[in-house]
Amino acid sequence: MSRIDRVFQRNGQTTFIGFAVAGDPDRDTSARVAHALIDGGTDILELGVPFSDPVADGKTIQKADERAIAAGTTPDTVFSLVREIRAYSAVPIVLLTYYNMVYRRGVERFYREAHEAGVDGILIADMPVEESAEVVEIARTYEIDPIFLVTRTTSPERMDEIVRRARGFLYLVSVLGVTGARDRVPDEALALLHRVRTHTALPLALGFGISAPEHVKTCAEAGADGVIVGSAIVSIVEKNAGNIPLMEQELKRYVARMKAAGVRDR
């Protein structure tokens, strides 16, 4: 059983998956962001590997990627950050990346180094299941869970194929579109949750647009096993870049509030 599996086995609360861009706004601040997210109660930490052309992401995360790249962040930086976070906490760490960053380093090398640094799962945003055979096999070799996206437009046949290859959890995309905070969790997201449930026993986490405690509550009530929050966290980092102690405090408070909203009535 992987570290990610164990987190989802805990009952009584919705797993909170917090995302930050590795190296945003720079390496050392980014380490403090990760620690603050963990201190606030983040169950799974998701780190974005910054990429020059993040087409699945909205403005907030694009800008964070640009800041991180400008600060000199490379995959080496990301792996060193993971090692530092791993020394601090046993919380599962998932990398979110685009395929060119993996391919360029060499798929085998990328997964080996990720494994050695302490990464538990990797999601490649522009890799549909059809292109994933090699990556999934290498991920298995290095005991890294391959995380896949499922969306409203995923057909039942493709969903079965995704479920066969995925480990850890499924990342359910709540809306058609790119990442970014939105006002509410659309009904279509909850419908997707129920549809995917009939295909798999894997934990289901909803992401894209989730930013407020009431969103978490809605997801929890609909039976989501987890929620993924990215742009809202990245915005806190961006807004408080000039005052890191305040940034840490805001991050901890935010995660604690979101977590509290995900406690299930039993």
């Binding site: 990429f51 020059s52 052309d53 087409v55 699945a56 909205g58 403005k59 694009q62 640009e66 790249i69 490379t74 995959p75 685009y98 395929y99 060119n100 960053m101 993996v102 391919y103 360029r104 380093r105 945003a125 522009d126 890799m127 549909p128 059809e130 292109e131 896949f148 996206l149 499922v150 969306t151 409203r152 437009t153 995923t154 057909s155 493709r158 995309v173 058609l176 579109g177 790119v178």
Partner: protein, 390 residues
């Protein structure tokens, strides 16, 4: 090409999950229309009655005399709209209409593909929105106005390098958000399968005509065909019907200020394999996989990627890929205007520049065809500014 849309090892479908169903739907729809004679007929009619096809294969007497070989221009500059781009946009817009899509989106660099999409949208009654890098909206202001005249909405892209690459990023973000009713009309042989194949098929009309015309005029296929390569649609369009003939095919990339300066767009000559915009192909990238900023005097070539079929043709050594620099291009722009009374687009002037630079390679009986992919009216203001004319 196999079922997964690969050209050798290149190509594929590297897109986010949301777009997969749209790509599968597009593949299916494209399969349907290629088997449908009514579609073929409708497209041919638009090509003949609206776009002005076939375009001439013009013998250039003056240039031939000066360079000592037999030079022909395939006159895509005479296609309605001023470039080869309409060959593709008419085909895809007709397809979008068949698919019941309500809205066309496109990216554009020099603005020629945006203009051609605006034309096709207006003709077929489909609303058009075009993403264009802010830098390009300034250097190709005339084309912005042309698109707007034809009812298209031009959206300036202010992220990243503010050129073609980021225009494609924004178009992809739009598509993923409106995937159910929107058709993404890609302008080159780039992007995920089936786009590189489909755009090649629509552009192959250039090579099919050129082949027939050359056989009629010269009794044989040419010795050399030269075309500029950005994403590579005009080049693949003229090369493809000649791939099994014995002749030399030359793709000319934008050498910009020189390969050594790093300020160029020579993806095949200076790049390495990688994934951008949904396809595995050559790519200008740094050691870590970040996509590099590019430069070219020609906005339409200013792109760090290239069509996957070109990557295959490069590795197979079927096509020779080379570069010319900005200054060579300006010289060729002047030369063709003065010598033949034809003002080429700065993109197409890359192909002309190659022939000028390498004229000593050709014998007097050698037949050289240059794909003149577009006309240069859009570039006149920028060239005037570079010449100090105000």
């Amino acid at each position: 090409m196999d079922k997964k849309g690969r050209f050798g090892e290149y190509g594929g479908q590297f897109v986010s999950e949301t777009l997969m169903s749209a790509l599968l739907e597009l593949e299916h729809a494209y399969d349907m229309i290629t088997a449908d004679p009514h579609f073929e007929q409708a497209l041919r009619e638009y090509q003949a009655e609206f776009a002005g096809r076939p375009t001439p294969l013009t013998f250039c007497a003056n240039m031939s005399r000066e360079l000592g070989c037999r030079i022909y221009l395939k006159r895509e500059d005479l296609v309605h709209g001023g470039s080869h781009k309409l060959n593709n946009t008419l085909g895809q817009a007709l397809l979008a209409q068949r698919m019941g899509k309500k809205r066309l989106i496109a990216e554009t660099g020099a603005g020629q593909h945006g203009v051609a999409t605006a034309i096709a949208g207006a003709a077929l009654g489909l609303p058009v929105e075009v993403y264009m890098g802010e830098v390009d909206t300034k250097r190709q202001a005339l084309n912005v106005f042309r698109m707007e005249l034809m009812g298209a909405k031009v959206i300036p892209v202010k992220t990243g390098t503010r050129t073609l690459k980021d225009a494609i990023n924004e178009a992809l973000r739009d598509w993923v958000t409106h995937v159910e009713d929107t058709y993404y009309l890609i302008g080159s042989v780039v992007g995920p399968h089936p786009y590189p194949m489909m755009v090649r098929d629509f552009q192959s009309v250039i090579g099919c005509e050129a082949r027939e015309q050359c056989k009629k005029k010269e009794g044989r296929v040419p010795d050399t065909i030269v075309a500029c390569v950005g994403g590579g649609s005009n080049a693949i369009g003229i090369f493809y019907p000649f791939l099994s003939d014995t002749l030399e095919l030359v793709g000319v990339e934008a050498g910009g200020r020189g390969i050594g300066t790093g300020e160029h767009s020579a993806t095949l000559c200076a790049g390495e394999a990688g994934v951008l915009h949904g396809a595995f192909s050559y790519l200008l990238q740094d050691a870590h996989g970040q996509v590099l900023p590019t430069h070219s005097i020609a906005a339409g070539l200013d792109y760090p990627g290239v069509g996957p079929e070109h990557s295959m043709l490069k590795d197979a050594r079927r096509v020779t890929y080379t570069t010319v620099n900005d200054q060579d291009v300006l010289d060729a722009f002047m030369f063709l205007s003065r010598t033949e009374g034809i003002i080429p687009a700065l993109e197409s002037a890359h192909a002309v520049a190659y022939v000028l630079k390498h004229a000593d390679r050709f014998d007097k009986d050698d037949v050289v065809v240059i794909n003149l992919s577009g006309r240069g009216d859009k570039d006149v203001a920028e060239v005037a500014a570079l010449q100090g004319v105000t």
